[in-house]
């Protein structure tokens, strides 16, 4: 009695779930190229995943409107990992085994990207990560890149490099660093500490704060007591605005304030209500498209992206959406050349030179699966409530 009941229930469940998920297949077209994406659309890292998702959906629409890829429509399947490593692992597996995608974009966060490397390596699927850590494209045991993994964002070391170079130019030698306790802040902090020696900089204070903290007066006061020449802050979200206000309140005049590239949204300048004046930060081309000279190689793609994003979503773009743009166009570029053949896509990307993206001109090689150089960032300064190129 009990046995039969159980079986009935179980079979109903199985049938029911099978019914609900039968995909609708559009007939009469060339088979769609499926590209998967796992972004942190919600949760802790939604500042990354949300613009990335919006960007790839917009780009896919544009490509399909223009006739697809060699006549094949492009289907982008986006899953949300909510910043959770377990969910991310499952989503990537699902994309590979169930959706049978040609390539995977994302994940948005470094931790999650590192977490799924074993999965894509084992299943031999190309992954174009949208996260920054160098560990994503460097196997720490061999020092070489992982075979199937690429990434589009500049490594944090490039941003640190451009900040520290700028500091040297200004004759700064004593600095303080601030970071939040998220993965974004922690990996920036690691690079800041590691590279300071190479530039002959002395770190006199190294402070952190939580991503939801209401106030950083205590940390800044401590820094004020140490009297550094410059402060670098590496965080994301409202704290990077709050900290600017606190900085201004404490009248820490004479100290130059640097923000990470995570500050790259005009919304932040507005929210800082005047406290952002004179803040330096390294930004990729897509944030400052209109400031770039017409001769700049990225000017055209950056302007086009900026305008269509603003038109579609009625909000200013953040630099992170650009990573999604780069990832999708890289994959599309490969699909156009070799079709949906995973190994061929991988080989194509690895050999790709001079690919003009939102965050730089990519030159991939078997030893470099990021393909960006020091020119990927331009140093900008906040002037009269807007960006201006710094000298």
């Amino acid at each position: 009695m009990r046995l039969s009941k159980l079986f009935i229930v179980v079979s109903i469940c199985l049938i029911g779930s099978g019914w609900a998920m039968t995909p609708a297949i559009a007939a009469g077209e060339k088979e769609a190229y499926k590209v998967g994406a796992v972004f942190s659309v919600t949760g802790r890292a939604s500042f990354l995943g949300d613009p990335e998702k919006k960007t790839v959906e917009m780009v896919a629409e544009e490509i399909n409107k223009a006739g697809g890829i060699n006549g094949h429509p492009l289907e982008v399947i986006v899953y949300d990992d909510e910043g959770d490593a377990t969910k991310c692992n499952l989503a990537v597996k699902k994309l590979i085994t169930k959706d049978k995608v040609c390539a995977v974009m994302g994940p948005s966060v470094s931790g999650n990207s590192i977490a799924v490397i074993p999965v894509v390596e084992e299943n031999e699927v190309p992954l174009v990560s949208c996260a920054a850590s160098y560990k994503i494209v460097t196997n720490e045991e061999t020092g070489k890149p992982f075979k199937w993994v690429f990434k589009t964002p500049q490594s944090d070391s490039l941003a640190v490099d451009s900040i520290y170079t700028h500091m040297k130019k200004k004759g700064i030698s004593k600095i303080a660093i601030l970071s939040d306790t998220t993965g974004y802040g922690a990996s920036g902090r690691e690079e800041l500490v590691r590279m300071a020696k190479d530039f002959g900089l002395e770190i006199v204070a190294d402070e952190t704060y939580g991503p939801k903290d209401t106030d950083m007066m205590a940390q800044l006061t401590k820094i004020k007591g140490k009297a550094p020449q410059a402060v670098v802050n590496w965080s994301i979200g409202p704290t990077q605005v709050t900290i600017l206000r606190n900085f201004k309140d404490l009248a820490m005049t004479g100290i130059i304030f640097y923000q990470s590239h995570g500050f790259g949204s005009r919304e932040n300048i507005k929210l800082a209500a005047g406290a952002a004046e004179g803040v330096f930060c390294p930004l990729g081309a897509c944030n400052i498209a209109e400031l770039l000279p017409d001769t700049h190689p990225q000017k055209a793609v950056a302007m086009q992206y900026m305008n269509s994003y603003a038109a579609k979503y009625k909000e200013p773009l953040s630099s992170f959406g650009g990573h999604g743009w780069d990832a999708l166009y890289l994959v599309v570029d490969a699909l156009k050349a070799v079709g949906c053949d995973k190994a061929a896509i991988r080989d194509h990307i690895e050999k790709r030179k001079g690919f003009v993206g939102q965050h730089g001109v990519f030159n991939f090689s078997p030893d470099d699966h990021n393909g960006l150089g020091n020119d990927a960032f331009s140093m900008v300064v906040v002037k009269d409530g807007d960006w201006a190129l710094a000298d």
Partner: protein
């Protein structure tokens, strides 16, 4: 730039600690009002704070309603949410236990957070400070005028609440409920109405806290969870159910965080606060100002 002296630094930590502590204290008072009448720890208390800040931003900044009216409008709106919470989520529960009630209030906090994300999105919102951004310098420390507002509102809330509980019939009835629900209902107090009122009151206080903190720290939809944990800590630290305890607990928590971050390690500042809390729980379980006898007659 002039160097800041050690005494100046200490003063600054004190100012920061008291300001943040006042915020925690306000959240803690909200916790206590509901706890006293219902023995529920309302994990959605932090959501009231976030809703307060966001609603105020919409009314004052987006719609351009003058400060005072927007303030009142916000408090009324969040109070209504508090009333709805009691009616729709808490009262229908038939078999309350600590776990069920924790789950229920967490469920409400999820719903409120989801709704806030739907209406306000994920971006932070700002509010202009009540009286400008020109900092005041005192003895080497810096005070934003808004900090004074935070402290002032804590005082106002405390004064109004003590007036309410000591001088008004409704307040006295609520206190009776807090002391002994059964006895209160025997002398003809409508306990259900008191529970409803407790939710309204603490929602209102949450809204005030959200409004006054937003000009300092901005506000976004998911700020509530962290504030709820901090408020809960303050409540337990001071002694569950004790109003002076809530204020003391909040201030102590704020000061530990601020001095801990400034003098020891900013990465571990939350851990210090929680370690002190654990120490108090282990050695004086009823909290600093809590009453052992009262905690015995409470069900949970």
């Amino acid at each position: 730039m002039e160097q800041i002296s050690l005494s100046g630094q200490l003063l600054q930590y004190l100012i920061t600690g008291i300001t943040i502590g006042s915020l925690y204290a306000m959240v803690a008072i909200g916790f206590n009002i509901i706890y006293d009448v219902t023995e529920i720890i309302n994990f959605a208390q932090g959501e009231f704070v976030a809703l307060g800040g966001l609603t105020m931003a919409s009314l004052n900044v987006t719609l351009g309603i003058p400060l005072v009216f927007a303030f009142c409008g916000t408090v009324v709106f969040v109070t209504l949410i508090g009333l709805l919470m009691d009616r729709l989520a808490i009262r229908p529960i038939r078999q309350p236990s600590v776990v069920t009630l924790i789950i229920a209030t967490i469920a409400v906090s999820f719903i409120l957070r989801g709704a806030a994300m739907y209406f306000w999105g994920k971006d932070p919102y700002d509010l202009p400070p009540f009286s400008g951004r020109t900092p005041i310098n005192i003895l080497g420390g810096v005070i934003q005028p808004q900090y004074l507002w935070v402290i002032a509102f804590l005082v106002i809330v405390v004064v109004l609440l003590s007036f309410f509980f000591d001088r008004t019939i409704a307040g006295k009835a609520m206190r009776a409920c807090a002391d002994n629900t059964d006895a209160a209902s025997l002398v003809g107090i409508n306990v259900n109405r008191m529970v409803l009122m407790s939710f309204a009151l603490s929602a209102a206080i949450g809204a005030v806290a959200g409004i006054i903190i937003t000009p300092i720290s901005l506000m976004e939809y998911d700020r509530g969870a962290m504030l709820a944990v901090k408020g809960f800590s303050a409540v337990i630290l001071g002694g569950l159910g004790s109003f002076p305890g809530a204020i003391l607990g909040g201030l102590i928590l704020g000061l530990i965080e601020s001095f801990g971050a400034g003098l020891i390690s900013s990465g571990y500042k939350d851990a210090f606060a929680l370690l002190v809390l654990l120490g108090v729980l282990f050695f004086k379980p009823s909290g600093i100002l809590g009453n052992v006898e009262i905690s015995k007659i409470k069900r949970f």
